[in-house]
Amino acid sequence: MPKLTMVQAINLALREEMARDERVVLLGEDIGVDGGVFRVTDGLLDQFGPGRVMDTPLAESAILGSAIGMALAGLRPVAEMQFSGFSYLMFHQWEGNATRYRSRTQGQHTCPLVVRMPYGGGVRALEHHSESREAVYAHVPGGKVVMPSGPRNARALLLSAIRDPDPVIFMEPKHSYRSFREEVPEAEEVQPLGQAQVVQAGDDLTVVGWGAMMRPLLKAAEEIKTADGPSLEIIDLLTISPLDSATICASVRKTGRCVIVQEAPRSYSVASEIIARINDDALLYLEAPVKRLAGYDVVTPYFGREKNYIAPVPRIVRAMRETLAY
């Protein structure tokens, strides 16, 4: 099995699916000749030609809007938002059209499409290039939100997302684009949407994370393991919406304790919903309040300060210890 970065793994998934299904087309800013500002689509223009890999004008609403048209016409567009911070220019097309054609026409017209977008901080980028706002998309019915955490699941989930009959927001942790490699099977591997993954089983504490926070979270878990010996159950959400609360609640019913680690601001966030689901289905098992280790409710600071604002490993360790000791 070759060891790939997430950029390579996503590129692989796109390449595989374009080869398998000629309905798949890519569109976005700088994705063709340039291969994407992160090189995620590198080489695809050469392989599949300009009819299937389109450098579009600079207009996010029309990128999604025209992708909706293509999907309605039977293509399978995969659109790129250059950064999730610019995806709000198409939010009305998402909320008002992509997520609604199925319900509006009771299935007569549908929008099978994917919107890929790098999200999150930690790469010393300019304003608007570091946000993590998955909650905004997660609240909108009719669309799915997927956030891979590593090369292998990124590839397997993207394949599922492209094949999904409904629109999917696919948020890629840009901080993890090249920061590590993973073995990715050569044979096609798909991973179903809507299912969280228990990446480590344990009894004392449930830890939930997703996307770029999985790496520091796993490191923190290592530290805890060596030092204190408690047994952690670690869950990687993978799909944010629809949320796999069954997996989370089953775990919390077992451990009685839970820490949620998230990059986004705390209030009205994905962590809030997870707590609400635990309240619904596992409240009586809780031995401590669920802990949200989240971003703060501030406007995303410029990168000079950002390292203080995204929970580093020691902060996660402390949150775990506090919850274990509660």
Binding site: P57, S61, A62, G65, M70, A73, R104, T105, Q106, Q108
Partner: protein
């Protein structure tokens, strides 16, 4: 060389039938009598259904809707110019065109009474026609994508996309036209300039003399037509469709017409406009003019007119009857159409929902 002319542009206008139904023979399209009658019938059907819906709405039998009265020519003529495999992407004043394309009247009624079921069209009709667009202008980029898809697959189908005058102010209008032009996609954009966007008159909507000139921003062929002249509309859309199919890219057409009624039944135009303006435009309305033309061609007479109206009244009666007698649809259908497959948490919500609804019905 220093201060020099780089480019020159001209905006033309087209009228074939004047306000009294006199035709400009040089411009008259070569339509068969059967086609001319179909066009007239199409416009009349829309007029009849609109008028009935106005009554139904006042009686509380349907919800809010926006009548198309006075604007029948644009979309009906466009529908005549189109082929069945062309995409018809409307805004919300294309009743004539929708009916011409085969939308059953009963669907229109269900839609306007708050049921998604109204959008579910017979397969051959729905295949290339989308429901009304409520988010003003948001359909314009869709049309670019539909056009791209047709071109990409080597179909010679085209797309006709309608929007209002107000819609030309939205960013999506601009982005959609730009994409279509860059792709040289086979799309005909038709702006129904009915002079008003709710209470905002055309002059306050945008500072340009014409809407047609907005196509210049994309080097797109553009034209203003008399939108109350069904023949001019037919000619303009036909030309644009032919160019689109021949690989000549998109066209932008401004069809000058007038919204003779309220914006929607929730609106009261007396708040913002003068009735004399409405009266002037009633004299220029499209059916009158087209009827004169048909009569002049000996294709129509009083008796035929009466027979048609009676027939349409009966057709609408039948549709209203079917609409009002339709069996109730289950309350929980929305759960089924969030996603292709219902996820477990939603299935549980549906159970709760159904239990609630049952209890509340029993109470």
């Amino acid at each position: 060389m220093p201060r020099q002319t780089l480019a020159e542009f001209t905006i033309e206008s087209l009228q074939v039938l004047d306000e009294d139904g006199r035709v400009d023979a040089a411009l008259e399209p070569a339509l068969e009598p059967e086609e001319l009658l179909r066009l007239y019938r199409g416009m009349s059907r829309a007029r009849e259904l609109d008028q009935r819906m106005l009554k139904l709405q006042r009686q509380g039998r349907i919800g809010t809707f926006g009548p198309c009265i006075g604007q029948e020519a644009v979309s009906t003529a466009a529908a005549l110019a189109m082929r069945p495999d062309d995409w018809f992407i409307g805004s919300f004043r294309e009743l004539g065109g929708r009916l011409m394309r085969g939308e059953p009247m009963v669907n229109t009624l269900h839609f306007h009474n708050g049921w998604e079921e109204g959008n579910v069209l017979p397969p051959e009709v729905g295949r290339r026609m989308l429901p009304l667009t409520i988010i003003v202008g948001s359909q314009v980029p869709h049309a670019a994508g539909l056009g791209y898809a047709a071109k990409h697959r080597g179909e010679d189908a085209a797309v006709v996309c309608f929007m209002g005058d107000g819609a030309t102010s939205e960013g999506d209008f601009h982005e959609g036209l730009n994409f279509a032009a860059v792709w040289q996609a086979p799309v005909v954009f038709v702006s129904q300039n009915n002079q008003w966007a709710i209470s905002v008159p055309r002059e306050k909507q945008t500072h340009s003399r014409t809407l047609a000139q907005k196509g210049i921003a994309y080097d797109m062929p553009c034209l203003q037509v008399d939108g109350n002249d069904a023949l001019a509309c037919y000619v303009a859309v036909s030309e644009a469709l032919a160019r689109a199919r021949a690989g000549g890219g998109p066209t932008f057409i401004e069809a000058v017409t007038y919204r003779l009624m309220m914006h929607t039944t929730a609106d009261d135009p007396r708040k913002y406009r003068d009735e004399t303006q409405e009266q002037e435009w009633w004299r220029k309305e499209p059916l009158l003019r087209f009827r004169q033309y048909l009569i002049g061609k000996k294709l129509w007479n009083e008796k035929q007119e009466e027979a048609l109206l009676a027939e349409l009244r009966a057709e609408v009666d039948t549709a209203v009857k079917a609409f009002e007698e339709a069996a109730a649809w289950p309350p929980d259908r929305p759960f089924e159409h969030v996603f292709a497959t219902m996820h477990p948490a939603l299935a549980q919500q549906r159970q709760e929902f159904l239990a609630h609804v049952k209890e509340e019905a029993d109470a």
